[in-house]
């Protein structure tokens, strides 16, 4: 079977003057881009630069307002993902589209031709997953799988169509370092076969490691192209943001005050079969401190967040203390009223409701803590739109949230911009205690440094900050103390200055040193 993709010029895809308008706002503005056969091409740009919009047009999810796409030398109009797949384009989205109740094979079959039997899909999927080193059990239910495994399904699903071009939108922002390494091996294998990859990421180190060429977008326009290996992360960041990325200036002269947030022997049974139970977790955060909790995802981070935030209160009132008052059994709004603020990890459907406007999403988090300003009409609790819109505007300006329109639905913001808003929503209150889970996932270098600086500044101003993060660079940038979570147990805290990456790595492996003592051999 002659493959049509083997063409002399080597040019697989060329995009000229591609433009997408949302109303009068140009998310992509006359973009030119070429992708050769057999290259890994990076698409870089700050949050809201138009990266996702561009690749959605290539995959037929969005219709371009103007411009042309040429595929293997022919002009094409791609009006649906089905058509893109037929041409030989596969895509792995920033936010996954899987049915949790179905098995891996069923999910894959859904995007395939209906004439192919489930058994053949399963067989083909497990063959591909072996060839590309992406272990997958076709009969597993998606609900039971980790984020990394879910992403493998998306990749295998894309590979099954035998694509010439695979587009990955921020694939590693949710992966552990080990999972990311495995993904890179797969991508290099694809490249060796002569396929091309279009790769979107905010992690500049991995772009340098992996990619042959890079195109940089800013405000919807191409602002440069380069060989990422010839650049430094700092120079790449400068191309993206337009100026130097500020270096986070940590602690300095933090004066440590009283304990503001405390967990005492916090134990929580797993709520679902896939959750992790918390085992005797104790921690203290003083005013002026940033305690960072490192660990590989899925070791109890979200369970710890739920217990500290009060979304799922615990039975022992003393197990959680905010400003030295027991709150273990109180709900999230009671804790907010005591001066605490919370930023969960998942943006869509947890920290924000995508279909609601930004101002409504402000009410979501602050309907009790700011009820004097935001609510009127006594017991009727009438929402004061004016005051809320003004506050939403203030937050957007403070955090430099880029959006189309005054008060758009949260779902129309780019991932990173929504994250800025969600963090800004809490910072705007100057909370005495702030608990943040993965503060900067999917956030560009410039915005990430702004968010981290804001966390550091908040602590300097006398608040207690707890940051849960997988990103060691982030942890070393912001933390004054570091503890490591592993299988629902938390290590003792160490001053950030005394801890090396190697030591953290050991702690992540479950060797809790003095806390576990004799129990250490359990880990192996």
């Amino acid at each position: 079977m002659p493959v049509k993709g083997q063409i002399a010029s080597g040019r697989l895809l060329a995009v000229s003057n591609l433009t997408k308008l949302f109303g009068s706002f140009a998310a992509c503005n006359a973009i030119n881009l070429q992708i050769e056969s057999g290259e890994i091409h990076a698409l870089l740009g700050e949050n809201g630069a138009g990266k996702s919009t561009l690749v959605k047009m290539l995959f037929g999810v969005l219709a371009p307002t103007a411009g042309e796409i040429s595929w293997m030398g022919d002009n094409v109009r791609i009006t649906s993902p089905g058509e893109a797949r037929k041409l030989g384009i596969g895509m792995v989205f920033q936010h996954f589209s899987l049915f949790e109740a179905l098995t891996v094979a069923e999910n894959i079959a859904l995007s395939m031709d209906r004439s192919i039997s489930l058994a053949r899909v399963a067989e083909e999927a497990s063959r591909l997953s072996r060839v590309y080193g992406l272990p997958l059990d076709p009969n597993a239910h998606v609900a039971d799988l980790s984020v990394g495994e879910r992403q493998r399904i998306e990749i295998v699903r894309a590979l099954l169509q035998n694509p010439q071009l695979i587009i990955l939108d921020e694939p590693t922002s949710v992966l552990t370092p080990q999972e990311a390494d495995r993904l890179f091996e797969t991508l290099l294998k694809l490249k060796a076969e002569g396929r091309s990859v279009l790769y979107i990421s905010h992690r500049l180190e991995e772009v340098q490691r992996l990619c042959d060429r890079a195109t940089v977008l800013r405000h919807g326009k191409v602002t440069g192209a380069c060989d990422p290996r010839a650049e430094t992360p700092a120079s790449l960041a400068r191309m993206m943001v337009g100026n130097d990325v500020a270096v986070v200036t940590p602690e300095g002269t933090n004066t440590k005050g009283d304990v503001q947030l405390e967990a005492r022997h916090l134990s929580v049974a797993a709520r679902t079969p896939f959750a992790v139970s918390l085992k005797d977790v104790s921690l203290k955060v003083r005013a002026g401190e940033v305690l960072a909790i490192a660990g590989v995802a899925g070791n109890g981070q979200s369970e710890l967040f739920d217990a500290l935030s009060g979304e799922y209160p615990v039975s022992d009132d003393n197990a959680v203390q905010i400003r030295q008052k027991p709150v273990g059994t109180r709900n999230i709004n009671a804790r907010r009223l005591m001066g605490a603020g919370f930023v969960p990890e998942e943006r869509h459907g947890h920290a924000a409701v995508s279909s609601l406007s930004l101002s409504d999403n402000l009410v979501l988090a602050r309907n009790q803590s700011d009820r004097r300003v935001f609510l009127g009409g006594g017991f009727l609790k009438i929402i004061r739109q004016g005051a809320i819109k003004a506050a939403a505007k203030r937050i957007s300006e403070a955090m430099d949230v880029r959006k189309s329109g005054e008060d758009p639905p949260a779902g129309s913001l780019s991932g990173g911009n929504l994250q800025k808003f969600i963090v800004g929503r809490e910072l705007d209150r100057q909370p005495a205690v702030l608990v943040v889970n993965q503060p900067t996932w999917g956030v560009d270098a410039g915005a990430a440094s702004r968010i981290r600086q804001a966390l550091v500044d908040l602590a300097k101003a006398g608040s207690a900050v707890l940051v849960i993060s997988q990103d060691l660079d982030e942890i070393f940038e912001v933390a004054t103390e570091i503890a490591v979570i592993s299988e629902g147990r938390l290590s003792d805290p160490y001053p950030a200055r005394e801890l090396s990456r190697e030591k953290i790595g050991l702690l992540m492996g479950g060797m809790h040193g003095k806390t576990e003592g004799a129990g250490a051999e359990h880990a192996h």
Binding site: M1, H350, A351, L364, Q368
Partner: protein, 364 residues
């Protein structure tokens, strides 16, 4: 050739507005076809079904009487449906409200006082709410599917009413007819306007619709309902409890259904009989959806569905078809409303097989 549904990138604003109208138009077209198959002139039949009932003052009053319970129940259901609680048992809550409200005029018929009527209305609401509390409790604490429990409780309510009017509450002076005594003057919901029979139940319906509209649009409670309907997790983050929302929405819709029940009995029938509703509680589900779960839309939809009841009666008399056509029209309408809503999220595409096949060949 084959038809494909393709997901729109964005919800279509145009079709959100248009869809109920398209559904109504399709219902008329298929209704016409049905009349033609029955051997009637479709135009004349549709005229006597949909237009004639609107041409006289007394029948406009009948329209308002029938619309009142539909709107009242539909408004309550919209709160349930928006918060993701699927109360399908409003018919049962309607009946239980009617029974609870009738305790005073049937059991304590001697007691005459201006307090009787207000108390009856309150009892009606309590009766409906308590009956809705059963599926609410089962869902909130036992994780039971409320669609099944609320639906099955309708049969319990119907049989309970049947037993009451044949047994303990039968009118001793009623020559063994299965009816209660007729209500005394103090227990009757008066007429609203001098020109006809429309009673205050219609006013209750409009007031309820306006109040719920206000609640959904301006208050924190309305916001809570919207958020919990979209994402339970985000609601929990906001400090809203989906368990409390189960209770609130079920009790609220139960109370409105109960109020509709006692208003109907006290305003229109003035006694209890084995059957007091031509399926208002079920038809109100159609009303809620046809009105886009928006209280103002529900007022309009309630009037439309009330017309199908009147049209059925009129068609029975003037063209001699069974009044079952009412049910057919209601069914058609619900079917088309739900299917037209697909257009809001999907685009319909015709795919030409031959062309597709050619392309596939090319690829090999």
């Amino acid at each position: 050739m084959r038809i494909e549904l393709e997901k729109r990138a964005k919800v279509s604003a145009l079709f959100s507005i248009l869809s109920p109208f398209i559904a109504f138009a399709l219902t008329i077209v298929f209704g016409g076809i049905m009349f033609a198959l029955l051997g009637k002139n479709p135009v004349a039949a549709l005229y006597s079904f949909f237009v004639e009932p609107l041409s006289e003052v007394w029948s406009l009053h009948e329209l308002a009487i029938k619309a009142a319970p539909l709107i009242l129940i539909g408004v309550g259901l919209s709160v349930c449906f928006r918060s993701n609680n699927w109360n399908i048992g409003a018919e049962g809550q309607f009946i239980m409200g009617a029974i609870a409200g009738s305790i005073l005029p049937v059991v304590f018929y001697d007691w005459q006082s201006p307090l009787v009527l207000p108390l009856m209305l309150v009892l009606g609401m309590i009766g409906g709410a308590l009956f809705a509390a059963i599926p609410a409790f089962l869902k909130a604490h036992m994780n039971t599917n409320e669609i099944l429990t609320s639906l099955m409780l309708v049969y319990v309510a119907q049989l309970f009413l049947d037993w009451l009017v044949r047994g303990p509450w039968r009118n001793p002076q009623g020559m063994n007819f299965p009816e209660t005594r007729t209500f005394g003057a103090d227990a009757i919901l008066p007429e609203m306007i001098a020109s006809g029979r429309t009673h205050w139940g219609f006013a209750f319906a409009i007031i309820a619709a306006l109040a719920v509209w206000f609640m959904m649009r301006y208050t924190l409670r309305g916001f809570e309902i919207t958020v919990l309907g979209q994402s339970e997790r985000a609601g929990r983050f906001a400090g809203f409890s989906s368990r409390k929302m189960i209770w609130f929405s079920m009790l609220f819709s139960g109370a409105l259904a109960g109020l509709a029940g006692i208003s109907e009995v006290s305003g229109a029938i003035q006694q209890l009989r084995p059957v007091i509703s031509p399926g208002y509680g079920f038809t109100a589900i159609i009303v809620a959806f046809l009105g886009r779960l928006n209280p103002l839309g529900i007022i309009a939809a309630g009037l439309v569905l009330a017309l199908t009841y009147l049209g059925g009666e009129a068609a029975q008399l003037s063209i001699g078809v069974s009044d079952k056509v009412t049910r057919v029209f209601q069914g058609l309408l619900l079917f088309f409303v739900l299917s037209c809503d697909t257009l809001i999220h999907y685009r319909i595409r015709l795919v030409r097989e031959r062309f597709a096949a050619l392309k596939a060949d090319e690829a090999h």
